[in-house]
């Protein structure tokens, strides 16, 4: 019996769906109890909310540079401008944070003195509660998307940084020596040896930071903003509308998974040199 339904490659989607259904069932169960519904909302109401977001009303977004409005986007439903803002913030934060983390990680991993000197300061910065920085970012970057991007970058940066740093240190000494003997200069070593060797480290950190980029953007919006999914969540929380809060979380989650899938595809392409087990064909 178990063998028949045992998870395998072909029934993977089925099982994933089963878990999803199970989660919704448990959630629904919890929400039958009013106390539970108060904290977790009701799945059906949440889904209705999402449906409304994507179908009802209309939204508009002014894209402006400094004081001048460049153009105004009009959308067929309420959620789009908010979603667009949050996604923009997230993607920017993810990109900027990753690049900074990569750059700093490589630099410090390759210059032992700089790393020894700056080490405590980087660790100190990492242990700083970012929420406190939000007002400061608002001063520096304004109330628009850039202050949220900055907050999310502070989350993404450190994760990528620490992994790149360690990844570079883990390069096999023999392979490194070989590349050096083959005449690679510093920048070639960087691009042809350190980076490829650290790719799995980098991607591990990217999987973590996709999520945290969303968290950073949403928390940034949550701490103060005029639009974005975090703003919607904040509004809903203030009026005890827990269903909308969870609707916001659910929508974000879907997009986080989408972004993660993209990262996964890139990873797969870059890592195709790695040995995998079971490479024989079964006849």
């Amino acid at each position: 019996m178990w063998n028949l339904i045992k998870p395998r490659q072909s029934s993977l989607r089925f099982w994933q769906l089963a878990v999803l259904v199970l989660l919704f069932a448990v959630w629904h169960g919890i929400s039958r109890n009013p106390q539970g519904a108060f904290f977790f909302g009701e799945p059906l109401a949440v889904l209705v909310r999402i449906w409304q977001w994507f179908t009802v009303g209309n939204g508009s977004l002014e894209v402006s540079l400094g004081e001048t409005t460049l153009f105004t986007l009009n959308f067929p439903a309420e959620i789009y401008p908010h979603l667009l803002v949050t996604l923009t913030e997230t993607v920017l934060a993810f990109g900027v944070g990753t690049l900074l983390g990569l750059g700093f990680g490589l630099w410090l991993a390759l210059s032992p003195m700089a790393s020894a000197i700056l080490d405590p300061y980087i660790k100190a910065a990492n242990s700083m509660p970012r929420v406190i920085l939000a007002p400061i970012f608002a001063v520096w970057f304004g109330l628009g998307i850039w202050s949220k991007v900055a907050l999310a970058v502070t989350l993404v940066f450190f994760i990528v940084f620490f992994n790149v740093y360690q990844g570079v240190k883990e390069v096999s000494p023999v392979i490194l020596a070989n590349a050096r003997m083959l005449g690679a200069n510093r920048s070639q070593l960087l691009r042809q040896v350190y980076l490829p060797s650290a790719t799995s480290w980098v991607f591990s950190s990217l999987h973590t930071s996709v999520g945290l980029a969303f968290v950073g953007a949403v928390v940034g919006e949550y701490l103060g903003s005029a639009r974005g999914v975090g703003y919607l969540i904040l509004q809903a929380e203030g009026s005890f509308d827990i269903n909308t809060v969870f609707a916001g979380i659910l929508v974000l989650t879907v997009f986080a998974l989408a972004l993660d899938t993209i990262v996964g595809v890139v990873e797969k392409r870059l890592m195709k040199w790695q040995p995998k087990s079971g490479e024989t064909e079964k006849l």
Partner: protein
Amino acid sequence: QTLEKPKVSIAVGGKNLFYYLPLTVAEQLGYFKDEGLQVEISDFAGGSKALQALVGGSADVVSGAFEHTIDMQVKGQNITAFVLQGRAPQIVLGVSTKNLPNYKSLQDLKGKKIGVTAPGSSTNMLASFVLAKAGIKPGDVSYIGVGTSAGALSAVRSGQIDAIANLDPAITMLQQKNDIKVIVDTRTMKDTLDVFGGPMPAATLYASGAFIKKNPNTTQALTNAMVKALKWIQTAGPDDIVKVVPESYMLGDRALYTAAFLKVKEAYSPDGKIPDEGAQTALKALQAYDPKIAGKTIDLTRTYTNDFVRKANDKQR
């Protein structure tokens, strides 16, 4: 009259609180637009964050508590309130019926846990103020920050706190389920006068002195819109409010919302004027509560101006 700055960014800490209802009304009824203003209202996790946005220069105007203007003068920031939204703080102190079913007097709160929205906030101030009058020192109770939303409700209901100082709609929700017994209710003028010994200005619109000086017409336009909203609220019934306020504020429970509205209606300023003795009251309250302000001399005239409100009222009539 041309506006110096038609695009105005307003910061507010908790937009959907009843505390800031006039702002929402003005926005929803299009009063700002009528004045030729293009306002963007950014919502913050708390009043102090909104204030920081103002000081940092990313927001032009804040919809926030009057005390901030006094606080900021101590910090060397020149901030002026120019229109009043609420004349009573709307804060309610209640005791948990679960933990203290036999509550008699304030003395019973000694050694207890009191939930406030955040330590150091105006809810904390009110609680300290009330308890101090009953001879209970701040060290005799412990204050726990529980926020204004779900956390506050659950803290009371699960018995983690013994008393709570909070705002609507949380308070009305607790009252409806009989979770708390109200002991001080500054949504009413009577209790406000009782507690503070005078009218207590609550929510205002304030901006930096420099902004007001530089943009008098813009400030006037903002004031006009707010005063219009305040007048509208005076005459509005529950049905009107329900129509105006965004659906999402209704918490899926219109009855609750209208009930809460009727409770706080008295607390809204009828004309937006900041009473002079009100400023005195606020200063006294702060000095009693915060040792850092106690010793300082404060020039109250710089913390507020009624010039704009006066003009707005003239115009309305």
